[in-house]
């Protein structure tokens, strides 16, 4: 019961957040509800992402983490709610957002090479009829180098390991040159080398003043990788700096009985 109370207080405090803060936030969500059929996957969620920081979206399976991201991007239509990007509507700010979908969402036997996937990130620059020029290729190669995949440029995407696929997706997002990066489970099922490569790229983005939001599943690395957390279980459970919002209490509230007490103890201590 106590936890529910904390939650309510938390809600109140953000609702009173001054409009100025809302306008600066790279991604601000108000009253978002998304439903597949009768049961809402995300219910009346508010979220205010801090600029220039790394935020993890955390919650149990089926808690609506990916759905929240997709609704923020307009990939799925919400039942209700409002999304603003840097204080403006999504349609106005599309060019400033880069999205990295789950890698299982595409068919990797598609006839295309690694560099062609990264060139998709330059879609806006290329336009409908523009030819791909040396400068575009150089930019795509540079993005591949940044994720340590420069040597793979001309390989067919079907030959990549899971971690390499994930890094190609990240390179495609880098090519966009966006200000806000939204990543859906980039660390799921990847090797340690890939995880290291991805996190170092994300940190370099933060150093360049970019904002990074990651749907994350590994509770053990939250404190190490991220500045802020957003805990969700259909509703918002907690939001804020890791030190404040990532506690035994909030985890218990988000995961319910799904985490062993010993696990939570260990995480809270870390």
């Amino acid at each position: 019961m106590e936890i529910v109370k904390t939650q309510a207080q938390g809600d109140l405090s953000t609702d009173k957040a001054p409009e100025a803060k809302l306008a600066q936030s790279p991604l601000a969500i108000r009253g978002l509800t998304v439903s597949y059929g009768e049961k809402p996957a995300v219910f009346s969620v508010d979220m205010t992402v801090e600029p220039g920081q790394m935020t993890a979206i955390i919650g149990p399976n089926g808690a609506g983490k990916s759905t929240l991201l997709k609704a923020a991007l307009g990939i799925v239509a919400p039942v209700s709610g409002r999304v603003t990007i840097f204080g403006r509507s999504l349609a106005e700010q599309r060019a400033r957002i880069a999205y990295v979908p789950q890698r299982a969402s595409v068919d990797w036997d598609f006839p295309t090479r690694v560099i062609d996937v990264v060139l998709m990130g330059l879609y806006r620059e290329l336009g409908l009829l523009g030819w791909i020029k040396g400068a575009h290729r150089a930019k795509a190669l540079d993005c591949l180098e940044r994720v340590g995949m420069g040597d793979f440029a001309t390989r067919q995407i079907g030959q990549l390991s899971g971690g390499q696929q994930q890094r190609v997706f990240l390179a495609r997002a880098l090519a966009q040159g966006a200000d806000l990066y939204l990543l859906d489970e980039p660390f799921a099922g990847v090797d340690a080398a890939t995880e290291k490569a991805i996190i170092s790229v994300l940190k370099s983005l933060r150093e360049a003043g970019k904002t990074v939001v990651v749907v994350h599943h590994d509770l053990a690395t939250v404190a190490e990788y991220f500045d802020n957390v957003f805990l969700i279980n259909t509703r918002r459970v907690a939001e804020g700096p890791v030190s404040e919002a990532f506690t035994e209490e909030t985890l218990q509230a988000a995961y319910g009985g799904r985490l062993a007490t010993s696990q939570i103890d260990k995480l809270a201590k870390a």
């Binding site: 349609a91 957002i97 998709m120 290329l126 409908l128 793979f152 030959q159 990549l160």
Partner: protein, 401 residues
Amino acid sequence: MLLDALLLQLGYNATLVAVGAALLGTSAGITGTFLFLRKRALVSDAVSHATLPGVCIAFLLMAFAGGDGRNLAGLLAGSAVSAGIGLWCMNWLTRNTRLAEDAAIGAVLSVFFGFGIVLLTVIQTLGVGRQAGLEGFLLGSTAGMLYSDAVVIAAGGAMTLALVLLTRRPMTLVAFDPEYAAARGLPVDRIDMLMMGLVMAVTVVGLKIVGLILIVALLIIPAVTARFWTERSEYVVLLAGLFGGVAAYLGAALSASAPNLPTGPLIVLVSFTLFLLSLVLAPNRGVLAAVLRHLRLQRRVHLRQGLLALAQGQAIYESLTLRLLQRAGLVRADGVPTASGKARAAKALRDERRWEVVRRDMAHEAAAALYDGLRDIETVLTQDQIQEIDRQIGGPREVLS
């Protein structure tokens, strides 16, 4: 006769049909590729079957209005309307019910086709207009093809090609990663609709030549055939256009070379022949290549295992391994390694150690991804890199090369 047909020497009609078919085959192959890449190939089958009621209704309307029921432009307009309705039904069923797309395709295809056949029978019993030739839309009939028909086909083909050129990038992006496309702000639904609209246009234009039952073959087989030869989507598109055009031209020429050979079915058979050749002969994805690859792999595995066993002084029991080692002059008939066998065995063991280093070191990731336990390390690393690795391993220098 066939040579004459190929060289367009068989008269006006045959020439018209061959040129028209080649144009249709090219645009169908190119358009169909995007459908194939989007994994919605079968939608085209439902679209084509849904044209039949429209053809019949257009015929009835034109005949009752006192005109010539067989006016091609009118019939094609009717077929486009009813194909559009079929497409809309399919989309509605998939989106608003729990039916999956394959079930929606089955439902729309059979209902529209059944309705069309009923109308066709009614038209025949009514005896209105001059109905002869309406069944030609089922399997195509090129006997009475007019110059104006060829112009319709050419114009339709040119229009679809121009649209494809203009929208190839968004269509490819949507086919590969629809979620990412949506996140970039691309109107995914409208692009899908455009893709279907192009397919519908090709179907309608192709009714006269191949008929509604077989048009799906012209849309899909060239794309599938092209996929065997390349790993790049833009080349799949171009090759599919080429295969489609060639198959249609050859098929039309074949049917003109002897009396009473149907054009549409022959085009499909030629197209299928190209597919079969590709299936067997294609360098990477072909069946023959796969079999050869497997046999080669088997030989390499046996040789490698044999060498590693020799290097570690283990006995070899597998007869295939022994045979291969003997044939390569690496062991004698009694199983004792020869001098070159010993050298190769030592090298194999050494390479294993080198690979271990390569696979631990992130700097060598691209090379490490090629590790399969068989590849010679010299094929992926330079001599300098290998020497550097050897410095890390230490040990005897004489087995270096």
